[in-house]
């Protein structure tokens, strides 16, 4: 036989059972008077007039709060029992909601006991109406919420800690990122340089990197690379790639040799671990006089091709076909290309975050061809103009831009002599 529910709803047939030892406690339940049930219920009961004055209160609540009945009934309002914060909340939220809905349930409020101590409570109120449907009084039940409140406090603290940790992580990632890309690029006489880094996530260090640095009088090295993956593991590779490229360029600045050097370092360094790959374009700039421009030698390893935007308004890829991903095989092959950067020409390097951006309108990814069309619409353009236009383009991708993206543009400013233009890049 199942145990019946509480006294007032008990089934009569249970009471006439023939087993005396079961009948006895049940009779006691039946004698649990309504009055006693109200006064000594395991929750506080409170009835107030519509203006908030307390009309009736049960013994449980009086005991919890340490008041005598005559101190409350007819003398105090319900809101007088609340803390200041609770009072403000009651006036601005609880009371209006109760008026509009006829009931408010499970609101967390703090009650103030006679001795000044506080009782965290969950408060539920309903409006009782008279025969004509006019509001007559407000019935309120008050549940002790000590434990629940303590639990909520724990949750809140855990959330604050998580927020704090997240901020710390972001600060760390930002700081680390700053060590991986130069805060400002080395000025090169006769060359305008612009760069941009779009971070896909504030929580993780991105895998893209670039640099531009002096090698010898009239000679500079530059690179743009992309490490597979992101986060701490990628940062380790990025860091290694950056200092290896710079160091290698000093000893032997031939671009294909510089890449071979990095490839060896990657293969040696990460042999045991899961392999670490990156794509890189490394270039060597040699000044041919401030008004003439630069001779550029590029070597590419698996990286999207650079784009040359010429003074005559044309634009083309600078292909380095067959260049292999770095860090995969010990004897990787790298392809070299040369070009002349003349006044009005701009050379653009980028990472595949740009060309791989999702663009529903174009059916999938943005792509190399779309970028080339975009470049043709820009040319001729100075480096800063190219980076600004591409930054706007990145912005237009919105959510479609889900990877880190780096941009580096180098352009030879046009001469400021009247209408006179010198030749463009290679033909």
């Amino acid at each position: 036989m199942t145990v019946p529910p509480g006294g007032e709803e008990a089934d009569e047939s249970w009471a006439v059972g023939d087993r005396d030892q079961e009948q006895l406690p049940f009779t006691a339940l039946l004698e649990d008077s309504v009055e006693d049930l109200y006064e000594n219920a395991p929750c506080g009961y409170l009835s107030t007039l519509m203006d908030g004055r307390i009309a009736k209160v049960n013994r449980t609540l009086l005991q919890w709060l340490g008041y005598r009945r005559e101190e409350l009934v007819g003398h105090k309002q319900f809101s007088d029992l609340l803390t200041i914060g609770g009072k403000l909340y009651h006036e601005t939220h609880f009371s209006p909601l109760l008026r509009m809905q006829g009931e408010v349930s499970g609101v967390a409020l703090e009650l103030k006991a006679a001795d000044g101590s506080r009782l965290p409570a969950l408060v539920t109120s309903t409006v009782k109406k008279d025969g004509d449907g006019e509001p007559l009084l407000i019935r309120t039940t008050i549940l002790d919420a000590h434990d629940r409140r303590a639990y909520e406090r724990e949750l809140l603290r855990a959330r604050q800690e998580a927020d704090h940790e997240r901020e710390r992580l972001q600060r760390l990632a930002t700081t680390l990122q700053r060590t991986l890309i130069p805060p400002a690029l080395e000025p090169v006489p006769g060359l305008e340089v612009a760069a941009r880094y779009h971070f896909a996530s504030a929580d993780e260090v991105g895998g893209d990197f670039y640099d531009l640095f002096p090698l010898a009088p009239g000679r500079w090295g530059f690179f743009m690379g992309d490490v597979r993956g992101k986060g701490a593991n990628a940062a380790v590779v990025t860091s290694l790639a950056r200092y290896t490229l710079r160091a290698a360029a000093v000893s032997d600045p031939v671009p294909a040799a510089v890449l071979a050097n990095l490839n060896t370092a990657l293969n040696r360094e990460f042999q045991e671990d899961e392999p670490r790959f990156c794509t890189v374009i490394f270039g060597l700039l040699t000044s041919e006089g401030e008004e003439t421009g630069f001779h550029v030698v590029l070597a590419g390893g698996g990286h999207p091709p650079a784009v040359l935007l010429r003074a005559d308004g044309s634009a083309d890829h600078v292909p380095t076909p067959g260049g292999q991903l770095l860090g995969v095989v010990p004897d990787a092959h790298f392809t070299t290309a040369t070009l002349e950067l003349r006044p009005g020409d701009t050379l653009l390097l980028y990472t595949d975050g740009l060309t791989e951006a999702r663009t529903p309108g174009l059916g999938g990814r943005y792509g190399d061809e779309a970028l080339l069309d975009f470049a043709r619409s820009l040319a001729p353009v100075p480096a800063s103009g190219a980076v600004a236009a591409l930054t706007d383009l990145l912005g237009s991708f919105g959510e479609g831009l889900d990877d880190d993206t780096a941009l580096l543009a180098m352009g030879v400013p046009r001469e400021h002599r009247d209408g006179e233009e010198t030749g463009a890049g290679p033909r």
Binding site: M50, D51, G52, S79, T83, I84, G85, G86, K87, L88, Y89, E91, T92, H93, F94, S95, P96, L97, R99, M100, Q101, V104, G106, V107, A108, L109, R149, E152, R153, L156
Partner: protein, 258 residues
Amino acid sequence: MSVTGRKDGPVVVLAHGFGCDQNLWRLVVPELEKHFRVVLFDHVGAGGSDVSAWSPERYSTLDGYVQDVIELCQELGLGPVTFVGHSVSSMIGVLAVVQEPGLFDKLVLLTPSPSYIDDGDYRGGFSEQDIDELLDSLDSNYLGWSATVAPVIMGNPDRPELGEELTNSFCRMDPEIARVFARVTFLSDNRADLSKVSVPTLVAESARDTLAPREVGAFVHRQIPGSELVTLDSTGHCPQLSAPQETAEAIIAFVQGS
């Protein structure tokens, strides 16, 4: 925003205060619509407003709300309006009138308080510590977050029927926004602006209001030159809910009076 009521009547704009939305006016609107063209709106961040338009920069002072009210009146293009502001919106109304008096015909301040904090002889009803306690409570999310607002904002996986019901209910507000709005509401001090109000003004206070006690109503009345004071026989900070008939009558009498 909604515009209802008599097309040929004076335009009355009703602005809700902290804690709720335009639903707060629901008991007085039917009466007001008989006489006026009634404009209802939710402040940005409250009720059915476009929450994405909210930013902590714009709305961390009353000025963001004031600019919204000015823009709303300009966009209405219905000529000077009577602005009825409840609670913190009464001060939004005061500031809007001071900035653009030409947009306003009359001003009704329902349970106004220019400052909730006691200061020298001025009795706002609360000490700075009291307000800090409220803000602490809100900051720690107890009052707004764990209680009525949470199921609305967060959904209520255990009791979907509750979430559903509350979502279509009243006084929705993101706890983050509520916190900033509470700060603006209870820490603003606009006592010095009252004397700059240049349009006919009604101060309608509640006889028993713990947030804006009668001393505060008297102060507002004294500071605004030529203002009228009405004490509504109501309890609490929202007489438009607890004494809707009387509140509506007071507004009607004032707007129709010369």
